[in-house]
Amino acid sequence: MKPLVSEIRRYLRLWRLLLRLSLSEMLMFRINGLLFGLAPIVWAATVLIFLGVIFSKVKTLGGWSLWETVFLLGVSETVFVVYWASFLINLRNFINEVRTGRFDQSLLKPINSRFLVSFRTLDFTLLGSFINSLAIFVVSLAKVSDQIHFSRLPGFLFLLAAAYAICYLFHFIFASLAFWVVNARPFLDWIFEIADFGHYPAGIYPPSLRMFFTFFIPILFFGYFPTAFLLGRLDNLYLGIAILLILALSIISRLVWRAGLQRYQSASS
């Protein structure tokens, strides 16, 4: 038990150090960091106008009102920005490193290579996007507060944490395919596109598709299930499903990673 605690502490210290390095990199070009937030504002404006257009024609979409849908957007985007900034950018770099043979450098370091590959940097240029998505979240939360079951807050927070874990494990499995294919980047791009299904109330999809996006490509866990749970539209069963899914994905990711490492051959000398 003691070695495990000390190992966790070591990796937390390492992560804080990596965080400080990322932050100092971003602060070298402060204006860049702020202006990169411009695109998310335009994106948010276009999506909110689109939702406004939809709800000017219908009262509900898949049984969800305008503000519930905007709240879903806020939650989904906040989760998306957090996972993009914390590990997605690193997984994309990892794919490139495997392809060019530079992954050796990560293997030679006295740190768990999976940790390094996943959490090496934190992309602070997404600060603007994070503030943007948080603003949508907070404003829409105020509008749907009368529908929120506050007794469900712990479950909501758990599902948010589960969303992050499932996102990470799912992306990690596909990024690890870099050990077998020349360019695994399209797999991550596909997940990015498929995740769009989770930005709208799942009631608009047929039951078979909802099942598929729950158990096989679990993108509904990325934002939809936490939101639906907080709004009282989902029962506690999904907390259990989330736990099982995390366990299953953890095992698969570990197996894929180990098999990939055994297969890896450096392309450099």
Binding site: T46, V53, L61, G62, P186, I194, I204
Partner: protein, 263 residues
């Protein structure tokens, strides 16, 4: 002209090599298309017609945007801006050809491969989904083709204009993504412009971006009469001329300002 034709042929061959990547990107686009189909199906459940559209016509519109929007676009703004930023523009300036004509040849070669494949897929839709797609007639097809060519010219000119900011700004990515999103929105990539509320609708019909996507698609759908089609194309041509004048002005200003930093 021969030198630009050579550039065109080389780029065309290069673009034809990565077919698998192209189909990979197309499959990606199908996911967001599928989401939009479900969203609009839910909207039209209680409403047979909205803003003059039925679900069938919206479906056709969405298919056309998914095929055409990537086809008319190319990353020319960032590519040329990077050449300017890194000082590599000097190499082009020393060569015996016009820089903008060179990039124009590259653009057309790259886009032609894309458009040919996407248009063949539209033909496949015409055959497989007659409920949503029907052959619009030769006259309409010709008008659609012409409006598409104008859209390509407009898109290229606008993007080159955007890239010229690199003469004065360190990195155009700071705002080019935001502009790209806004242009896509006002081109009708997300939703037909007829659906837009309030002041957005007249604004979108005033701006030139409708001629990138919305106008060619509506011509294809037969929603624009012959007279309106010609008027639309003339206005599009007018915008093209205006952008070319601006392009010429800012290019001359930019070249005087250019310092070839990095070389």
């Amino acid at each position: 002209m021969k030198k630009y034709w050579t550039v065109f042929k080389t780029e065309f061959q290069k673009s034809s090599e990565y077919r698998l990547e192209f189909f990979g990107h197309m499959i990606m686009g199908l996911f967001t298309f599928a989401v939009m189909v479900f969203v609009f199906r839910a909207i039209f459940q209680g409403n047979p017609e909205i803003a003059g559209y039925t679900f069938s016509s919206v479906f056709t519109y969405l298919v056309m945007t998914k095929f055409l929007h990537p086809a008319i676009r190319w990353n020319v703004a960032r590519l040329l801006a990077d050449e300017i930023k890194e000082g590599r523009l000097s190499a082009y300036l020393l060569k015996p050809f016009g820089v903008l004509r060179y990039w124009f040849s590259l653009f057309w070669a790259d886009r032609l491969v894309d458009i040919l494949i996407r248009l063949s897929l539209i033909v496949a839709f015409l055959v497989l989904l007659p409920r949503y797609f029907s052959f619009p007639g030769f006259g309409t097809t010709l008008s659609f083709g012409l409006s598409l060519v104008l859209a390509l010219f407009l898109n290229f000119t606008f993007n080159i204009l955007l890239s010229l900011f690199a003469f004065w700004v360190t990195d155009i990515r700071l705002f080019s993504t935001a502009i790209d999103l806004a242009v896509g929105f006002f081109a009708g990539a997300l939703v037909p412009l007829d659906f837009l509320p309030g002041i957005l609708k007249p604004a979108s019909f005033f701006l030139p971006f409708q001629y990138l996507l919305y106008f060619p698609i509506r011509v294809f759908q037969g929603a624009v009469g012959p007279e309106q089609t010609w008027v639309g194309m003339l206005i599009s041509l007018g915008w093209l001329v205006a952008l070319l004048i601006l392009l010429d002005y800012f290019w001359r200003k930019g070249i005087k300002h250019y310092e070839a930093i990095g070389q």
